[in-house]
Amino acid sequence: MGTGDPYGMSISHALASGMGGIRTSGDLVARMQLRKKMRLPEAKKYVADKLHVGVEDLGDSTVMRNLRQELDIGVITAVPGARRGIEAKRNISELLDVGVPCLKRL
C-alpha cells in the first residue's frame, strides 16, 4: 500500500479489496505468502483445505467469525477466555502446519 491519510488510504483499500485480517482469514492467507512464497490462489486453497471450508468462505466474516472461535485462533471481538496474541499464533502454526517465527520465544 502506501502513504495517505488513514480514512482515504488504509480504510478505503481495506473495504475495496482487503481480505479482512482476523475478521475473516486474511492473516492466515498472508502467512502462507510470507512463509511459503505462495501466490494468492495457492495460498487461499491451502488455507481453505486446512480449515475445511470453500475458498469463497475465506473472506466471509459470517463464516469465519464462529470458525475462528471454534478453532481458537483469535477472533475480532474481545471474547473473554479466547486465545490472544502469541497464544492464538501457536494454534495457527499447528493448524496450518507453518512456522511462526516468534513462537521460538516460548
Partner: protein, 353 residues
C-alpha cells in the same frame, strides 16, 4: 449519461464524455506499452475499466472471493505521526496503533517502523525498535513486519560521510561519483543487515525494504545483496517495495547476476528480486498528475499485469499516494482510490496491495 465524473491525477474533479473516458483508458495503456515494453490491455479489460469508471457509485470494490492481502509500508505512522507520513497525529503509541490496524481496520499484516523511517537513523536505536516489534508480536495475531527505507541519500554529504554523487556528476567526475555510490551501498547494506538481524532475533515475521532504488541502481544493488544474505541466514519473510516504476541509472553500469539494473521496469525488477530470495515484491507505477485517473489507472495496471504474469512470488502493488493510479494528494478521494484498488486486483492480477 452525458458525462462521467472522475478526477485528475492531482485529485481534482474532471468530467469526461464516454468517448473521452475510453480514449484516456486506451491512451494510458498505450503509454505503458511504449515505455515499459509490456503487452497492452485486452479489449475486454478496457471494457471492464469503462464500466468501473462509468458506474456512478461513490465507492467500488473487487468481486466477493477476489479479495487480496494487505501489507502497509510507512507502518502505523499514519495514525500517530505528523503530515510527513500523512499522519493524523493521534495520541497513540506504536503498539496501540498496530492493534488499531489489526482490530479496527482489519488489516491482514502490519508493520512497526520509526517516524524517521530509514535504516540509518534506526541503527543506533534498534533496541527501542525491537522492543516495539516484541510488544506487537506478543499481543497481535496478524503477521508483524519491521519496515524502513534504504534512503541512500543519507549516506552522501552533507548528511553522510561520502562525497555526494549529485555534486560530482555535474562536474563530470563520473568515476568518482560511481566510486562514492559503491561506498554508500556498502554502508547502507551494513545498516540494513544490522537492523534486520536484530528483528530476526526477536521473532519478527518479516522485514520490509520500502522505496527501494529511490536513488537508482546502486541502491537497488545494495538491497538485492542484503536480501540475498538475509534469505540465506535468517527466518525473515522479506518484502521489497520499489520507489518508482523505472530504475534510474545513477551509476549506470551495475548488474545483479548478469542483469543490468539501470532501466529495469517492474516485470524485470521482480525477477532479480525473486533471484535474491525475497518473499514479496511491491511494484510502483508513478501517477502523472496532469493526466486523468482513468489514464493513470489503465497505465498502472498494464505495467503491473505483466509483472504479475511473470512473477513466481506474491506481488503486492503499491497503491499509495501518487502511485498505482492513485492521485498525488495526501487525502485521496475514496471514489477514485477504490476504483484504482479494484482495477489493480481485477486487471493487474496482484496477490496483495
Amino acid at each position: 449519461m452525458s458525462t462521467i465524473r472522475t478526477r485528475m491525477g492531482d485529485g481534482y474533479v474532471v468530467h469526461l464524455s464516454p468517448q473521452e473516458l475510453r480514449d484516456d483508458l486506451v491512451a494510458g495503456s498505450a503509454d505503458a506499452v511504449k515505455r515499459g515494453k509490456v503487452p497492452p490491455l485486452e479489449e475486454n479489460e478496457i471494457d471492464w475499466l469503462v464500466d468501473l469508471f462509468t458506474n456512478p457509485s461513490r465507492i467500488m470494490g473487487v468481486e466477493p472471493g477476489h479479495e487480496v492481502i494487505l501489507t502497509k509500508d510507512g507502518s502505523v505512522n499514519t495514525l500517530y505521526s505528523a503530515q510527513l507520513s500523512s499522519g493524523v497525529g493521534l495520541p497513540l503509541g506504536r503498539e496501540q496503533a498496530f492493534r488499531v490496524f489489526e482490530r479496527a481496520f482489519c488489516f491482514d499484516t502490519m508493520e512497526i517502523g520509526h517516524p524517521d523511517y530509514s535504516y540509518k537513523p534506526v541503527k543506533p536505536i534498534v533496541a527501542l525498535e525491537a522492543t516495539g516489534v516484541e510488544q506487537a508480536l506478543l499481543t497481535a495475531v496478524i503477521p508483524v513486519f519491521y519496515g524502513a527505507m534504504p534512503n541512500f541519500g543519507l549516506y552522501a554529504q552533507p548528511d553522510g560521510p561520502f562525497p555526494n554523487p549529485a555534486d560530482l556528476l555535474p562536474r563530470g567526475e563520473i568515476e568518482a561519483a560511481r566510486e562514492a555510490q559503491m561506498q554508500m551501498a556498502e554502508a547502507c547494506k551494513a545498516d540494513m543487515l544490522y537492523v534486520s538481524r536484530v528483528m530476526d532475533q526477536v521473532g519478527s515475521d518479516g522485514i520490509n525494504f520500502d522505496t527501494t532504488a529511490s536513488t537508482g541502481d546502486a541502491e537497488f544493488l545494495a538491497v538485492l545483496e542484503t536480501v540475498e544474505e538475509l534469505a540465506a541466514t535468517t527466518d525473515l519473510a522479506i518484502e521489497v517495495g520499489m520507489a518508482a516504476e523505472f530504475v534510474l541509472g545513477f551509476h549506470g553500469q551495475l548488474e545483479y547476476k548478469g542483469k543490468r539494473l539501470a532501466g529495469m521496469w517492474p516485470h524485470q525488477q521482480v525477477k532479480v528480486v525473486e533471484e535474491a530470495g525475497a518473499h514479496l515484491f511491491g511494484p510502483a507505477v508513478n501517477t502523472n498528475s496532469r493526466r486523468s485517473v482513468p489514464w493513470n489507472v489503465a497505465r498502472a495496471v498494464t505495467i503491473v499485469k505483466e509483472c504479475s504474469r511473470v512473477a513466481t512470488i506474491p506481488v503486492h502493488a503499491n497503491v499509495g499516494m501518487g502511485v498505482g493510479g492513485v492521485p498525488m494528494f495526501e487525502v485521496p478521494p475514496a471514489d477514485v482510490l477504490t476504483r484504482a484498488s479494484a482495477a489493480m486486483v481485477e486487471i493487474g492480477r496482484v496477490d496483495g496491495l
